[in-house]
C-alpha cells in the first residue's frame, strides 16, 4: 500500500463550484432552536415529536461508557431493530439536554454513532420514534476530573 496516499484513499473529492451553487436543494431541515436551545427534556421532546410520553424499551440499544474517559469526547451509539423514523439523544445534566436528532429515511438503518460533550455525571437517554410512539433507553455516565491531567 502506498502509505503516502493512504489519506487520499479515505479522502474526498471536494465539491465543485457547481455543486456549491446547488446547496439550496439539499435538505437542511432538522435543526430547530426551540427543540435544541431548551433546558427541559419534556419541552424538547414536545418540539421534536409533538409529544413527550415515552416508554422504556429493550429494543433501544444504547451504548455509552459507564465512566467517560474525557467529558469533552464521549463516544455514544444508539441502535434499534424497530422501524424508526427519528433517533434523538439527550444528556440530562447539560444546560440544553438535546444533543442530536437523526432522521432515518426508508432504506437507512436505525443506528447512529457520534461523540458528545458531557459537563458532569449525568443520565443519558436515547429516544427512538417509531410508528408514532417514543421509546427510550437510559443509563448513567460518570464524568470525573482526572487526577493526572496536565
Amino acid at each position: 500500500m502506498n502509505r503516502r496516499s493512504i489519506l487520499k484513499a479515505t479522502g474526498t473529492i471536494t465539491a465543485a463550484a457547481a455543486a456549491v451553487a446547488a446547496f439550496p436543494r439539499l435538505v437542511f431541515a432538522a435543526y430547530s432552536e426551540k427543540a435544541f436551545k431548551n433546558p427541559k427534556v419534556e419541552d424538547s421532546l414536545n418540539e421534536l415529536f409533538g409529544a413527550n410520553a415515552t416508554t422504556p424499551s429493550g429494543d433501544v440499544k444504547l451504548k455509552a461508557p459507564d465512566i467517560a474517559e474525557n467529558g469533552a469526547v464521549v463516544p455514544i451509539e444508539v441502535t434499534t431493530s424497530m422501524k424508526a423514523d427519528k433517533i434523538a439523544f439527550m444528556v440530562k445534566e447539560n444546560p440544553n439536554p438535546l444533543a442530536i436528532v437523526a432522521e432515518i429515511p426508508e432504506g437507512t438503518e436505525a443506528t447512529v454513532k457520534t461523540r458528545v460533550r458531557m459537563g458532569k455525571t449525568t443520565q443519558v437517554t436515547a429516544v427512538v420514534s417509531s410508528n408514532g410512539k417514543l421509546y427510550t433507553a437510559s443509563k448513567e455516565v460518570k464524568v470525573t476530573i482526572g487526577g493526572c491531567g496536565g
Binding site: T10, G11, T12, I13, T14, A15, A19, V20, F23, L26, V27, F28, A29, A30, Y31, S32, F36, A72, V73, V74, P75, E77, V91, N94, N96, L98, A99, I100, V101, A102, E103, I104, P105, G107, T108, E109, T111, V112, K113, T114, R115, V116, R117, M118
Partner: protein
Amino acid sequence: MSSIRIKAKERKGSVNVKTLMKHNMETGLRKDKSGKKIPEHWITDVTAESGGKVVFTAAFNTSISKDPYLAFAFAGKKGDSLTISWKDNTGATDSAETVIK
C-alpha cells in the same frame, strides 16, 4: 480543501459510513485569553445523499464534540457516490463527495 472526511464501505448491500468534520464546535461557554466569551459557532445540520436521495440527516447541538464524528449505514452499493454536507449557525456550508468502496 473540504472540512469533511468520509470513509464509506459497502458490505452485503449495506454501506457503512464514518465521517469526521473539522469544526471547532464552539459552545459559547469558552473564554479567550482576555476573558471574553468566544461566541457559539457550531454545525447545526448534516445531510448525506446518495443515488439521488437523502440517506441520512442529523441536527446537532453545541454539545456534539469538536471535529464532529458521525457513523450511520444505509442500503447502497459500491461504486455509487455519496455526498455529505453541513451547515453551521452562521450560515456557512461545506460539502464533500466520495465514491463508496
